[in-house]
């Protein structure tokens, strides 16, 4: 009997392993590196042993048989960079047709062939938060991606352990698209708040009607009629229930504070503010009531509400105890987030550890994955980058990037053409700098491109 149980359990284990074996996991021993652990200081001349995608040991003179060994003497090893605000690898970004589109999921439109993923890996970025755009007061559900470049299956990129997140947006974008563009609410910042509050109030009613139905179902012989099913509102219920983290596009302090109050009224604590150019004005409130702020290092003045900005923002927020990260929101900036973090240090005199936290453990906290990634600790997932030069030096160059212990970028094996998919007819494929103007644009101007600000007139 005991034997049978044992056999059954081992079969079960096998099944679990097979189920988990969908994405590749690697083993590697990195030796003699200067390890920037983020959470435990800098360890000189230290080895890191990765087994089956997990950091097993950090120490000196580690050995392992049958494992690739990389000598990183004189090089820096840091955790994979995490971008808390990105739109790389998405076929569509904005379902800009309704002020609330909480039912849409970015997971549905992930494009694993986007070479932008490889470019991000070449910049040491191992995780990006693929977000809905900022056209709607409540946008779509985002997806946290691990940059397992090379698979044609979008699901292989999903970080399945990551909690659900959703995009919100305040200010000029939702009011321009819906108010000015389509003549519907929200037309003003007040309207944005009203849309969000109405959504949550509706969610409370919706939850009640389904609770009533489900309770009635349990009664013997009862024949209750199912209420209307609506994923849009159900998702808002999930936010109220604390199952989804809000990531809110925002600039102005008054609006940020207003949304903090809205969240407090509805008992919501899982909220991160994105961009937050005026965050420095409400830093204590952000520290007290939110999961932090994800900011640009020095990107502003691309529209009226983004003029009051400062390169000291990240430092002020950090010193006020706000969990702060620096994000890219761009397929170009994502390649050098370590430079972006360096700017915060240049202006705000943050120390190295504080600065590197802006692009590692802090965004991990904001995405709800800090127990798995974001620092070099035994037991964490082996998302790692080897740098030539300290990553906060302007001369820093990423050498190798690992996700789950698998090497996805190596500067010495960096072929000219890293595209996964190519056109069967065109040698030079067209690049669409702007979404092509089909019919029915209805005066809604374009508000997102996946390119660097200095190349094109980028608007957020």
């Amino acid at each position: 009997m005991k034997k049978l149980k044992y056999i059954l359990i081992s079969f079960l284990m096998l099944a679990v392993m097979v189920a988990n074996a969908q994405t590749p996991k690697g083993s590697v021993l990195i030796k003699n590196a200067t390890v920037l652990t983020i959470t435990n200081g800098t360890l000189e001349d230290t080895d890191v042993l990765v087994e089956n995608g997990i950091i097993r040991r950090i120490g000196k003179n580690l050995t392992a048989s049958n494992v690739e060994t990389i000598d990183a003497k004189g090089k820096y090893l840091m955790p994979g960079i995490i971008d808390a605000h990105s739109h790389v690898a998405l076929d569509a970004v904005n379902e800009a047709t309704a002020p609330i589109t909480s039912e849409v999921r970015m997971a549905d439109v992930v494009d694993p062939y986007d070479v932008g993923l490889y470019r991000a890996l070449a910049g040491g970025v191992t995780i990006s938060h693929a977000m809905h755009g900022s056209a709607n007061a409540i946008g779509g559900q985002n997806i946290t991606l691990k940059h397992r470049y090379g698979s044609g299956n979008p699901e292989d990129l999903f970080m399945k352990e990551a909690p659900r997140t959703i995009k919100f947006a305040l200010g000029e974008n939702p009011t321009r698209v819906h108010g000015r563009g389509n003549g519907i609410q929200p037309r003003s910042r007040m309207g944005v708040e009203a849309v969000i509050r109405n959504g949550f109030n509706e969610a409370i009613q919706y939850k009640k009607s389904w609770d009533t139905y489900n309770t009635a179902l349990k009664k013997k012989g009862a024949t209750p009629v199912p209420p209307k099913f609506d994923t849009r509102i159900q998702t808002l219920v999930d936010i109220l229930d604390g199952n989804i983290i809000i990531h809110c596009h925002s600039y102005r302090a008054d609006e940020i504070y207003a949304l903090i109050n809205t969240c407090r009224d509805f008992g919501i604590t899982n909220i991160v503010f994105s961009h937050v150019n005026e965050g420095f004005k409400v830093a204590p409130e952000l520290a007290a009531y939110t999961m932090g702020a994800s900011v640009f290092a020095d990107w502003w003045a691309y529209k009226f509400e983004v003029y009051y900005s400062t390169a000291y923002n990240a430092a002020i927020l950090t010193e006020n105890g706000v969990i702060t990260s620096i994000n890219s929101d761009s397929g170009e900036l994502i390649r050098h987030l370590y430079h972006e973090a360096g700017k915060a240090q240049r202006y705000g005199q943050l120390d190295d550890e504080q600065t590197l936290a802006l692009i590692t453990i802090n965004p991990a906290k904001q995405l709800g994955i800090a127990d798995k990634v974001g620092s070099i600790e035994e037991g964490k997932q082996a998302d790692l980058v080897i740098f030539e030069g300290h990553p906060l030096s302007v001369y820093a160059i990423p050498q190798m990037t690992f996700v789950d212990g698998v090497k996805y970028f190596d500067i010495n094996e960096d072929n000219n053409d890293m595209r996964l998919r190519v056109s069967a007819t065109d040698i030079i494929e067209p690049i669409f700098l702007k979404e092509h103007d089909h019919r029915c644009m209805h005066g809604v101007d374009f508000f997102f491109t996946n390119f660097g600000r200095n190349l094109f007139d980028h608007t957020h």
Partner: protein
């Protein structure tokens, strides 16, 4: 109804009398002169492939009133049969098009209500019209129907045009004009990942919204069906809200009909498969390309496949790499590999044991045989092609009981070639659809010499040509001027400007001449879009006779005459 049995018989007799005297089939005269002398045909002594892999030679097919009456080497031919001599002819089951847009027009966009809210549009304004029947927007007399029949197709499932849920499909036989030719209607619910207006006009505007909207509609249709069942068997319940969009899903939920999802690449295939996995409907993937990335997933989901018969332009195979930089050389080679990979898709599906059919959507009938041959050269078996044109789509459409093979009792749907189907010189001489015989003129290629047009037997196309073309919008004319430059030709074509008055000029592209047949294409700008027009035809002396086809609109005759007294160059 309680009727005296005698009266019942009497009224039945009356009805019969009425029928007898008014049914034109039995009428004494036929003022139109269109009625056939006989519906009985015998095709004698032909090589007949009754189904993929099964061929009998020296065999006869007897057709009677639309059905195959007999097939074999020992068939008695009745006196009333019209005999077609099948010596040296090769007969195959008529082709079946798994999904076609031939003859289908797009319903007019509904007016937007004055209180139109793009975030919550009426279903009809959002491309959500699953209650529509494609037959309401189908014209059997459209030239596309005869074009595809000319290529061997005898049955097609026609697909409605519109937004994300355009409506329901129907199966038609490409038979004679006297019949409605409908074999079945409401055969599948159609879906696609394209919204009306393609953007931000109304919800849902992108694939994000389409995926979400689809899920909600499906779920609510399930709840709505549940409500209706409850209401029917209980009292004291609120009445169910009748909603034609949700009701249109009921046969899908009951698994009576599949959803046919139009897909344009592997990622869209995955999206359709994930919707199927979540909801459990029967799925037919329409327009499959890039299947190699998802073959296991398609198999696991037991989804049915209609492969696109369209292949990409082969211009990359002609790209010269000698003078290119290493980088460009490498890029060109990758593009070539990508092209070759697309040609392999059909063979890969066959190898994986997925019994796929074809869809003509987006394709041109003039490319059909060329593309099929390319697929064969790249791994698809010849029997695999035949199966994909006949038995597989018959199974996918659920019509194999009455068509798809040449057997006694099946619809008389045949395609008759002058040579075995895949040989170089094979031409379609007749197509039999629903027992109607359609004859096609075989243009024998003239030997180069004695053409009279040019030196060394080559057709001389350089010069100015006056042409006329006939379209449903009327007859139009213009000028083609062709110049020879080196080994290739360049030219311009004029036509009446579709967006305004006067004439417009376009460059003639891909001018190619082989034997006496000339092909070229040009682009016409109309309504903010660029339409590609391809022209193909034969030159005899100073006359060009051919057709011009506009990708999705059909093909129309185009004839040209070379202006006399032009100097040869």
């Amino acid at each position: 109804m309680n009727m005296n049995p005698k009266l019942k018989v009497f009224s039945g007799f009356l009805f019969f009398l009425f029928f007898l005297s008014y049914n034109p089939l039995w009428s004494q005269s036929d003022p139109t002169g269109e009625r056939r002398v006989t519906g009985t045909y015998a095709i004698k002594n032909a090589t007949i492939t009754t189904s993929p892999g099964n061929t009998i030679s020296g065999a006869t097919i007897l057709i009677k009133n639309g059905l195959i009456e007999a097939v074999g080497t020992n068939v008695r031919i009745p006196n009333e049969a019209q005999i077609i001599d099948g010596d040296s002819l090769y007969i195959y089951p008529g082709f079946i098009d798994g999904a076609s847009s031939a003859g289908v027009s797009k319903p007019a966009d509904p007016e937007r209500p004055s209180n139109f809210d793009p975030s919550n549009p009426p279903d009809e304004n959002a491309g959500i019209t699953p209650w529509r029947n494609v037959l309401d927007n189908f014209d059997f007399k459209n030239s596309q129907i005869s074009d595809w029949r000319k290529s061997g197709f005898t049955v097609a499932q026609i697909i409605p045009d519109g937004g994300m849920l355009p409506g329901k499909a129907a199966v038609v036989v490409l038979g004679g004009n006297a019949s409605t030719n409908i074999l079945a209607q409401n055969t599948a619910l159609n879906a696609k990942f394209r919204s009306v207006g393609g953007g931000r006009g109304a919800y849902p505007g992108t694939q994000l919204g389409i995926m979400a909207k689809f899920r909600d509609l499906y779920k609510n249709a399930e709840y709505s069906a549940q409500h209706q069942r409850l209401f029917a068997s209980n009292s004291g319940l609120n009445r169910p809200e009748m909603n034609k969009t949700l009701q249109a899903f009921y046969p899908v939920i009951d698994k009576g009909i599949p959803i046919m999802f139009e897909v344009s690449n592997d990622l869209e295939i995955r999206r359709a498969l994930s919707l199927q996995k979540e909801n459990g409907f029967r799925l037919v993937l329409v327009g499959v390309t890039e299947a190699d990335m998802v073959i296991n997933e398609i198999k696991a989901a037991n989804a049915q496949v209609l492969l696109s018969m369209k292949l990409p332009d082969d211009k990359i195979t002609k790209a010269k790499t000698e003078d290119l930089s290493d980088e460009m050389k490498a890029r060109t080679n990758r593009a070539k590999e990508a092209y070759e990979n697309i040609l392999k898709q059909a063979g890969l599906l066959e190898k994986a044991g997925i019994p796929f059919g074809f869809t003509s959507m987006g394709g041109k009938n003039s490319d059909l045989m060329k593309n099929l041959k390319l697929m064969v050269e790249n791994g698809l078996s010849e029997n695999g092609v035949l199966a994909a044109l006949t038995t597989n789509p018959a199974n996918i459409l659920g019509i194999s009981k009455f068509t798809g093979t040449i057997e006694k009792g099946k619809l008389a749907n045949l395609v008759i070639f002058t040579e075995p189907i895949f040989s170089e010189e094979a031409h379609i001489k007749h197509v039999v659809a629903d027992g109607y015989i359609f004859d096609y003129e075989i243009k024998t290629k003239k030997a180069g010499k004695g053409n009279g047009n040019g030196e060394n037997g080559a057709v001389q196309i350089a010069g100015e040509w006056d042409y006329t073309s006939d379209t449903p919008a009327g007859s139009s004319d213009g000028l083609m001027s062709i110049k020879k430059e080196g080994d290739s030709y360049k030219g311009n074509i004029t036509y009446s400007n579709p967006s305004g008055s006067g004439t417009a000029t376009s460059e003639m592209k891909n001018i190619s001449i082989s034997g006496n047949s000339l092909t070229f294409s040009f682009e016409v700008a109309a309504g903010g879009m660029s339409l590609e027009v391809t022209v193909a035809g034969d030159i005899n002396d100073d006359q060009f006779s051919g057709t011009m086809s506009l990708a999705d609109f059909g093909s129309y005759p185009l004839n040209a005459t070379k202006k006399p007294n032009q100097s040869k160059r």
